[in-house]
Symmetry: C2
């Protein structure tokens, strides 16, 4: 697995560099700092989100360097010479704690913890946010489509409508979320995905008639031929011609792999297509559907009994409307020997101080209770948790276990364990979704998964806040 696009030191907001320079010139840039990555709002009004992108992030962190060309540019912007000399030898040497890819994550709780010199831990903010926000967004969207599609085959068709180069990692994150394959060939190569593709209308149009196009394509790809049947008239031309070609292929010992519907009423057309194919004995020919699919349309098609075997999903998967962004942030929790918070009149925006861990509350039978506790990293047991914005609300625990969500994945800038594969991440998510009660998974008004603070953390936040008030 070799990622094609190298993320160099300048793949960042300029202010990370301005702050790094200030830390450097202050001479305390190597003092320990702790940053938390967390998010505030679930996308798609859903009941959960899916963590993805750490494989990309950790590789990027290990390889992060400033190129000579980039340093020259910063020189031209007026950056300090000794700081630039420092950047020339820069390598990230911090520690990173993160969940496995495919882990369920919830608002407010720390999802990634970065510990390192304050300069390096600050400097990676934009890079980390860019990678994790996007891949978690797409993995979450993909997992909703997987829930809707049940066991049908799901393929990413999104590259043409993707947000530019974003399509590359969208294909990766879609696999974490539960997709089976991608039409994005570069992503398939680099990430080891199953690459699939059929034909476009233009191929059919380029022939004088549809059946000539079908025959030509089938003769050149006899072992993997899916025919697009809606260029002229799906029921009266496309499917009958596909059946003719499938029968001609049978006569030569070959089998037509499938047909694709790309317009019209997909429920109706797929039922008609299935009937026509079955009447011709072509039970094995699979039906692929595409055209502006999303999780709601897929759900509706299956509720209508549409006999669709493969869904090709484009725009809605890779750009994840209507949200189109995951609102993750990266906040300082500890620096220069002290826990730190950001104050706000709004308690929702007051951050959590210190070195923390997120604990998932699991019932004895393995089912998730629907609650995570944020505590200090060295805590192990909790009798109750406190609501993060309304301290009067508390939740008591009995007969449950507490599983830490974040694990050490990088030590002093080196990845410390083999990253799990995308297939393993997909299985991880599948298992976690099994543990999560259905009420959290429905699309309309899902149950709210509770995230609370340990009493210790709650107390410390309160004390720091009071100190600042004075």
């Amino acid at each position: 697995m070799k990622e094609e696009f190298t993320l160099t030191g300048l793949f960042t907001d300029l202010y990370e560099l301005s702050m790094a320079e200030a830390y450097f010139l202050g001479g305390k840039h190597e003092e320990l700092a702790v940053f938390d990555y967390f998010f505030r709002k679930l996308p798609f009004e859903g009941g959960y989100a899916v963590f993805a992108g750490s494989g990309t992030l950790l590789t990027a962190l290990e390889d992060l360097r400033f190129q000579p060309r980039e340093l020259d540019y910063l020189k031209g912007l007026g950056f300090n010479k000794s700081f630039l000399k420092y950047l020339r030898n820069f390598k990230f040497r911090g520690n990173v704690y993160a969940p496995k890819e495919g882990t369920l994550i919830f608002p407010t709780e720390p999802v990634i913890r970065v510990e390192g010199g304050i300069l390096e831990s600050q400097l990676i903010e934009t890079l980390l946010l860019n990678i994790i926000n996007f891949q978690s967004l797409i993995a979450t969207k993909a997992s909703r489509m997987r829930l809707a599609a049940k066991d049908r085959y799901l393929v990413d068709f999104g590259l043409r409508r993707a947000q530019g180069l974003g399509g590359y990692h969208a294909a990766r994150a879609a696999i974490v979320g539960g997709f089976d394959a991608s039409s994005n060939t570069k992503a398939a190569l680099d990430f080891g995905l199953h690459a699939v593709g059929t034909m476009a209308h233009s191929f059919v149009q380029s022939f004088d008639d549809e059946i000539s196009a079908f025959r030509d394509f089938a003769s050149k790809r006899p072992n993997n031929c899916t025919l697009l049947v809606d260029t002229y008239d799906t029921l009266h031309s496309g499917i009958p011609n596909a059946i003719t070609v499938a029968q001609e292929m049978e006569a030569m010992g070959k089998k037509l792999a499938g047909i694709r519907l790309d317009s019209g009423d997909l429920a109706y057309l797929s039922k008609e297509a299935r009937k026509m194919l079955d009447m011709a004995g072509l039970y094995y020919v699979k039906i692929t559907a595409s055209n502006q699919l999303d999780e709601q349309v897929i759900k509706s098609l299956l509720e209508q009994g549409a006999p669709i075997d493969v869904f090709g999903v484009g725009t809605s998967l890779v750009t994840a409307p209507p949200d189109a962004a995951f609102d993750g942030v990266y906040k300082l929790a500890y620096a220069y020997g002290k826990p730190r918070i950001k104050i706000s009149e709004n308690l929702k925006k007051v951050t959590l101080p210190g070195k923390k861990q997120t604990f998932r509350v699991v019932q004895k039978n393995g089912t998730l209770l629907g609650a995570d506790v944020v505590g200090f990293h060295e805590e192990i047991h909790f009798d109750k948790m406190v609501h993060p914005f309304d301290p009067m609300q508390q939740l008591s625990f009995s007969d449950v276990e507490f599983e830490p969500v974040m694990q050490a994945v990088m030590k002093q800038g080196e990845i410390i364990s083999e990253q799990i594969s995308l297939e393993e991440a997909q299985i991880n998510l599948k298992n976690q979704l099994k543990q999560l009660p259905d009420e959290y998974k429905r699309f309309e008004n899902p149950h709210v998964y509770k995230v609370g603070l340990s009493e210790q953390l709650h107390q410390q936040r309160l004390e720091i806040k009071e100190r600042f008030k004075k």
Copy 2:
């Protein structure tokens, strides 16, 4: 200008390669084909869209090659050996016709025309769509923000919430649409943008008190210092501390560049901030505002008289919700010596045959009439145009001029003229928006810009469609 991310041959949907192989094995892969890029629906319920990305596209087309590693991969997928040999020496040698970046574009009309061998013109489909769809989406969004912001300074702050690597070209397209600068440092270097940045809350938090953080930052960046004033309490701590530091800077002959508001009621806070700064004689200190801005919020802030000098726009600019995608498509119009169309029961989806040009109708006084005619590329004058979906509707012209929208930009695979700079693209858009009456620019229910067909084109489409019916 050197783009960092190389788009190689495999940056495509697999089906482009399957079709290319079929064309190659058929031996007619070099026969002339013509493809049109066009879109069907304006994003954001707006009255116009902005063309962007051709600079990126043309460079990508000139450089498009298949790497040995990619060819090995295709071999593993079972592609034909002689076809892979052909791909090893592949270079795009077609002609491309496109508008200048920053040109207004409208639904249905051809925006780019590609002429070349059918294999090569088909093969670039995904690449072209990926680049042009995304950059045109962002340029359109940016131009709406520019209209709302009038003459205020607009900065792209979006990289952290961008769709992964998509943030790179989003920064580029934002400039075409009217932005002044970007925090995205890599994009600034590669595209020659003005890079800007301030400080984060974490920098302020890392000090024991706010004023120490401000003093430290000001001492290290005396010539370009913008202080973030909302970490603790904007009106009672942030702004008073910034004023103190500004006065200390004045005593040393320096000037504080600005303050930044990143939360709360930006209209109220900016007015209070301006008053407090002015009372201290700090008329020159600029006010930057950020935090979930979009064109509607910017418009509302200026209507309320908010004295904001700089808007930092993130998520909404670079991911362009709620649409998040531009629905451009790439359709075959001519192949093997014949004009081609895609038939559909829905006349809206019947494509336009032949080698075409889009003509903009300009009145004698220079104002746009609000109509474009799609005709054959050799046409020069039109007495009227025909509605593309409802032939009974026609529009007659008198006393107007017809300006071709697409120009030759690539000949046999080589860029034939220096691309205009992003600044020139921005000026091009500015001039075009001046020519466009206000009714097409408003956000709510804008006038519908008309696109029609020349009589010749209308007739030819009708004839081909009738022929297919038989």
